[in-house]
């Protein structure tokens, strides 16, 4: 069913275009129903599992950004760095200035996107392994920056005891009530909402002309620029959107854990965000979500193997990449209708 997501429906006549848009929307509703209704009903009593799902949703939200940089043909390992920036923006504003979390959440994304634009403009000229290396350095640089400015970030001590999100009201009308101490469901729902909004926006973007332009950059930047596409502008836009996702996700995690340390997001997290995309499949908007779901749930399921948990998990991952180099979702596509290429 997932294969409809990345179907290039731009080339279908109007009527078909509309019907092919129905399937992804249906899939979106299915995910929403599973997340918002089924999971709380089945696992609602198990706080630990709710936390796992909350983390999974937020992590896949951040990974959507990495997926987008893959779409323009860049291996992005800076995502954890920008998530850390988002986390600190929220932590500092909430703890020092008492700004509402609901303002900080989008603001953190905006700050991360802005910094991403400034850094991305020169850095995005690089490709392949060079871009991967420099983004890896960016993640590390963010951690070191957080360590070196204790006046602002409190250094290694971190910013702790962040307040829970307060009430969100508009014109005296309460839209979201204040989060209660110890309650897990509010964060669970918030993470799910972010995930679905993030997925929806990615889908809109991917199926639009902007998505086609991004794919053209991955395949041949020279050819794209010869057609009048401002390559530099589009890749910065893609990177900024990616950083926005990271910033918002970082702000979410800071508030969920009620603290931020320079080690909250590290290089390893960047690698994980990237791996979720790989495991799920780079051709599909929904790939990062599938990747995060499969990897995190299999890790939890292997819990009973105790100290062998990580070994077995890594072995499974290697098998997964070997057998399905294009991600889990590529199997779905292969078993579906034969590819258009057979027309030739």
């Amino acid at each position: 069913m997932q294969k409809t997501i990345s179907m290039p429906n731009v080339n279908l006549p109007q009527s078909e275009q509309r019907s092919s848009a129905l399937k992804p929307i249906g899939l979106g509703l299915l995910i929403a129903a599973a997340y918002f209704i089924a999971i709380p009903l089945v696992f609602g009593a198990n706080g630990y599992l709710l936390n796992v799902f909350t983390t999974m949703a937020a992590v896949s939200f951040i990974s959507f950004g990495v997926w987008l940089t893959f779409a323009i043909g860049r291996i992005n390992l800076a995502q954890a760095g920008f998530a850390l920036i988002g986390a600190y923006v929220t932590a500092i504003l909430v703890s020092r200035l008492g700004v509402s979390f609901w303002i900080c959440l989008p603001l953190s994304g905006a700050v991360a996107a802005l910094l991403g634009g400034l850094i991305g403009w020169p850095v995005l000229r690089l490709k392949g392994v060079y871009f991967a290396m420099i983004t890896l350095c960016i993640t590390e640089a963010c951690r070191l920056t957080a360590l070196s400015f204790p006046a602002l970030t409190r250094g290694a001590q971190g910013i702790v005891d962040l307040p829970l999100p307060g009430e969100l009201s508009l014109f005296g009308l309460t839209i979201i009530p204040a989060f209660e101490k110890g309650a897990r469901l509010p964060f669970f729902y918030l993470a799910g909402t972010l995930m679905l909004l993030g997925l929806g926006f990615m889908w809109l973007l991917d199926t639009s002309r902007v998505g086609a332009v991004f794919r053209s950059l991955r395949q041949n930047e020279d050819l794209a620029s010869s057609l009048g596409i401002n390559v530099a502008k589009y890749r910065v836009v893609a990177f900024m959107v990616s950083c926005f996702y990271a910033g918002v996700g970082g702000a979410f995690f800071a508030t969920l854990q009620q603290n931020v340390y320079p080690t909250t997001f590290q290089v390893l997290d960047s690698v994980y965000f990237m791996v979720y995309c790989f495991v799920g499949g780079l051709e599909f908007v929904i790939g990062p979500l599938v990747g995060a779901l499969v990897m995190m749930s299999s890790f939890e399921l292997l819990h009973e193997f105790q100290r062998y948990q990580t070994v077995i998990f890594s072995g499974l991952m290697i098998l997964c990449i070997l057998l399905m180099p294009n991600g889990i979702l590529s199997v779905v596509k292969r078993s579906g209708k034969p590819e258009e290429a057979t027309n030739a």
Binding site: N11, S208, V210, R215, S216, L223, A224, G228, V237, N343
Partner: protein, 256 residues
Amino acid sequence: MLEVRGLTKIFGGLTAVKDLNFTLDAGEILSIIGPNGAGKSTCFKLIASFLTPTTGTVRFNGKDITGIGPHAVARHGIVRTFQENTSFQDMTVREAVLLGYQKDCKASLAGMIFRSPRARRDEREAGDYADHVLDMLGMTGLANTVSAALPHGMLRNLGIAVALAARPKLILLDEPFAGLNSDETKRGVELIRKIRDEGVTPILVEHDMTAVMSVSERIVVVSFGSKIAEGTPAEIQQNEKVIEAYLGAEDTEIGL
């Protein structure tokens, strides 16, 4: 229409293009020929702003477009094709051609993502134009074929189709006949005339002498980066310098 003045490009110690001058009128089919490494492709890259010339200017319809960047040159109406079978591998033929229409899309970024009425109108116009281009190249039947699955000749045509979809005024064709059989070449020559009749002025860089002689109205011969001759195909075939510098003993080859 196009005016190249004193164009020079030096790579380190190598002068790839040296003081090249030529002009081109709208609707004229011009070919640039010369031995391998003569600087023909470099010349194309300089015109299309993929490279910045060391000295010299390129003027298009009176405007100086020297070194303004490939996408900016494209927006002025100059689009190039590539020597290799360059295409968007994963896209279907129609998707690639639709993308070619990009520079005439007027919707904003957000408009495109959220499907504003302007963006939808762009898509409709792009679709109509893509169908027109595919029809012109006889590729309608291949519209939904993935580019990577196309045979060589069709891939070459796709490159031209994508460039045409950008609605250029001037199209730079880099070796459009390379690797084509004589049948395909004949159709290619027809195609270039058709492109010209559509109001797009073509410039060719080409090695296939038979094709060059039959399609060109004027030929510029380049050797070691400098222009050594210019004229009609008949004049070039008689030109002593050309025969000596370029064709050597194989002068029978330029006869049709």
